[in-house]
C-alpha cells in the first residue's frame, strides 16, 4: 500500500509522497464541493434561430461578391442560350452568300456610333471605315455580325453556348455517377479491391488526357457523341480520388461503426451515412470539372475534331473566326467572350462554393 506517488510539475517531482501521506495532507473545506450555481446556466442564450449547415453556407456564399456575380452571369448566359437563337430571326445554318462578313449592327445602339455595321478595312495605303450595310443598301441587322458564309453569329453563338452547357451537364453526370461510385467503392472496401482499383487509376492517369482524347477521336467520327465518350473515359479520375480520400477518412468514424453495429449493410453505410457528409466537397469538385470539360470541347473543335458543320459550337466558331481574325475580329470576339465568361464564372462559382461549404478552407 505504500506506493510512492510522483506528482506532476517541476516542484513536486523532487519530493515523493506515499498515498496515505498525500491523502492526509489534504484537508477539505466546507464549500469545496458545491453545485455550480445556476447563474452560469442562465447565461446561455436559448432565444436564437437555429441555422442549418446549408443555410450557414448560403449566408457565407452571399458575402462573396465574385461568386454571386458569377452565378448571375451563368444564369444570364443560360437564359440567352435558351431564348437567344429565337430572338434574331435567323437559324444557325441559314446561309446568305450576299451577306458575307457583315460587321455587327444593332438597332437603336447603331445611332451612338457603336455597332452601326461599319468596320475598319486595312489596305496597303492605310485604314478606311467601310459600312457594308449602307453601301449595299441592305436594311437588316446582324447583332454580332455574320460569318464568312453569311450566317448570323448571334444565333450561332448561343447555339454553341447550348453545346457548351450540355457538355457541362455531361461533366457533372460523369463526376457524380462514375467518379463518385468508383472512389467510394475503392475507399470503402479497401484491401485487395482498393489495390486493384488504384493500380487501374494510376495507369489511366499516367496517360495524358490529350493523347487519349485525340486517339479516340481518330477512331470514332468527330461529333458530340465521341466528345462525350472521351470525356467519360478521362473525366472520372479527379472525382474518384477525392471521393476515395474522403471515404478513407470517414469510414473509421464512430457513427459508421454505430450504423454497422445496428446492422446496416454496405450500400446503406456508403450512401446514407457517408455520402451526406462529403456532399459539399463533391459538389465543389464537380463545379471545378465543368470549366475543364467546356475547355476540352473547345480545344477539340480548335484542332478540327469538334462537332461537324453546320452545327455551331463555341470552339468551332473560334476556330473558324481565327482564320480571319485580323481582318474581321468580331467573328471571333463574341464566341471567345462567351466562352471565357462561362469558364471564368464556373471557376469563381466553384471557388465561392468551396469557401462557403468548408469554412476551414477560407483561410487558405
Amino acid at each position: 500500500m505504500n506506493k510512492a506517488v510522483t506528482l506532476g510539475g517541476e516542484i513536486a517531482s523532487t519530493r515523493k509522497f506515499s498515498v496515505e501521506e498525500y491523502l492526509d495532507s489534504i484537508t477539505f473545506e466546507e464549500d469545496d464541493f458545491e453545485f455550480d450555481n445556476s447563474e452560469f446556466i442562465s447565461r446561455i442564450d436559448a432565444d436564437y434561430i437555429s441555422r442549418s449547415h446549408w443555410k450557414d453556407a448560403l449566408i457565407r456564399f452571399k458575402k462573396n461578391k465574385g461568386a454571386v456575380f458569377s452565378v448571375i452571369c451563368i444564369l444570364v448566359i443560360i437564359l440567352f442560350a435558351v431564348f437567344g437563337p429565337m430572338m434574331s430571326g435567323y437559324t444557325y445554318d441559314q446561309q446568305d452568300i450576299n451577306n458575307q462578313n457583315m460587321a455587327p449592327r444593332i438597332p437603336v445602339i447603331e445611332n451612338t456610333g457603336f455597332f452601326d455595321g461599319s468596320e475598319k478595312m486595312l489596305s496597303s495605303t492605310g485604314t478606311k471605315l467601310v459600312n457594308k450595310y449602307t453601301k449595299d443598301k441592305i436594311d437588316i441587322f446582324y447583332w454580332f455580325g455574320s460569318d464568312s458564309l453569311g450566317r448570323d453569329i448571334w444565333t450561332r453563338t448561343w447555339i454553341g453556348t447550348r453545346i457548351s452547357l450540355f457538355i457541362a451537364l455531361i461533366a457533372v453526370f460523369i463526376d457524380m455517377v462514375l467518379g463518385l461510385s468508383y472512389g467510394l467503392i475503392s475507399g470503402y472496401f479497401g484491401g485487395r479491391v482498393d489495390m486493384v482499383m488504384q493500380r487501374i487509376v494510376e495507369v489511366v492517369n499516367s496517360i495524358p488526357t490529350l493523347v487519349v482524347v485525340t486517339l479516340l477521336m481518330i477512331i470514332l467520327q468527330p461529333g458530340l457523341s465521341s466528345i462525350i465518350l472521351s470525356l467519360i473515359i478521362t473525366g472520372w479520375i479527379g472525382m474518384s480520388r477525392i471521393a476515395r480520400a474522403e471515404m478513407l477518412k470517414l469510414k473509421e468514424e464512430e457513427f459508421v461503426l454505430a450504423s454497422r453495429t445496428l446492422g446496416a449493410k454496405s450500400f446503406r453505410i456508403i450512401f446514407k451515412e457517408i455520402f451526406p457528409n462529403i456532399f459539399g466537397q463533391l459538389i465543389t469538385q464537380t463545379m471545378f470539372s465543368i470549366p475543364h470539360a467546356i475547355f476540352t470541347e473547345a480545344f477539340l473543335a480548335f484542332i478540327g475534331l469538334g462537332v461537324p458543320q453546320p452545327m455551331a459550337s463555341l470552339g468551332s466558331m473560334i476556330s473558324d473566326g481565327y482564320k480571319n481574325f485580323t481582318t474581321h475580329p468580331y467573328m471571333i470576339i463574341s464566341p471567345l467572350i462567351v466562352m471565357a465568361l462561362l469558364m471564368l464564372c464556373f471557376t469563381m462559382f466553384a471557388d465561392g462554393l468551396r469557401d462557403a461549404l468548408d469554412p476551414k478552407m477560407k483561410e487558405g
Binding site: V203, V211, L215, M217, F299, I303, M339, T347
Partner: protein, 310 residues
Amino acid sequence: MAQYITKRVVMAIVTIFIILLMLFIMLRFMPGSPFNDEKLNDTQIEQLNEKYGLNKPIQVQFFNYVINVMKGDYGVSYSISKDSDISVMLNTRVKVSFRIGGQAVLLGAIIGLLLGIAAALNHNTFADTLCTVISVLGVSLPSYVFGLALAYFVGFKAGWLPLLYDEKQTFLSSVMPTIALCMFTVATVARFTRSEMLEVLGSEYMLLAESKGIYGPKLIYRHALRNALIPILTVLAPLVVDLMIGSLVIEKIFAIPGIGSLMVTAIQSNDYNVTIAIAFIYSAMYIFLMLIVDILYGIIDPRIRLSNKE
C-alpha cells in the same frame, strides 16, 4: 527508398508498354497503310508485307514495333509529306517545341512563385487581391484566349513583335507564345504557393524559429518556403500536360514549326502514323516527368522517405 524508386520505375515501364500496345492495336486497325492507295497486285502486296514484316505473327510484329520505337524509328508519314521518315520530320520540331515549352515553364514558375510569396506575406492587402485576380483569370481562361489577344493587340495592332513565327528572329517570335503558354503555370503556381505559404506561416515551427531569433529573408526562405515548396512539386507534372495541350493551339496560332502544330496538321489530314508517333512522345514525356516528380517527392518529403524504410 530504393524499393520506392524501383516500384515507381516498374510502374512507369508498365504504363509505357500499355500505351505502346494501345498504339500498336490502333495502327493495325487504321484504314491507312503504306500501300493502300496504289494499284498493286497480290504478289506485290506479298512482297511489301515481307519487306515491312507484316506477314509475321502478331506478337513478333508487336515486338518489332516496340524495338523500333525504342530506337526512335516511328515509320513513315502517309500523307503530310509522303514516305519521309517521321523521326527526321520530328527532329527539328521537337527542339522548337521544347524550347518554347521550357521557357514557359520556367517563366511561369518564377513569376508564380514570386506572386504567391508576395501575396502570402501581404495577406489581405492589395497585392493579395491582385494575385487572386491574376490566378483566377489564368486558371479559368484557356491559353488561346491570351494567345489571340496578344496576337491581335501586340502582334497585329501595335506590331511590336512578329505575329507569326520567324526563323530569323527565333527569340523575339517566341516571346508571345511563351507568355500565352505560361499564364496557366503562373496562376496555378501562384495559387498553390499562396495557400501553402499561408499554412506554413501559421504553423508552430515558424513560431519556434521566430522565437529562436531567426528573422527576415532567412526565416522566409529557409523555414517557410522550403516546406511550402514540397506540395508545389506535385502540380508541376500536370502543369506540363496542360502546357502540351496549350502548345497544340498556341503553335497553330503563331505558326510555330513545332510538334504541336505538326500533330494538329496530322490529325486534320488523317496522317495516323504521325499522330500516333507524337502521341507516344507526349505520353513518354509525361510519364518520365511524373516519375521524376514522384522520386523527387520521395527524396524531399521525409514522411515518404521514412515510411518506405520500415
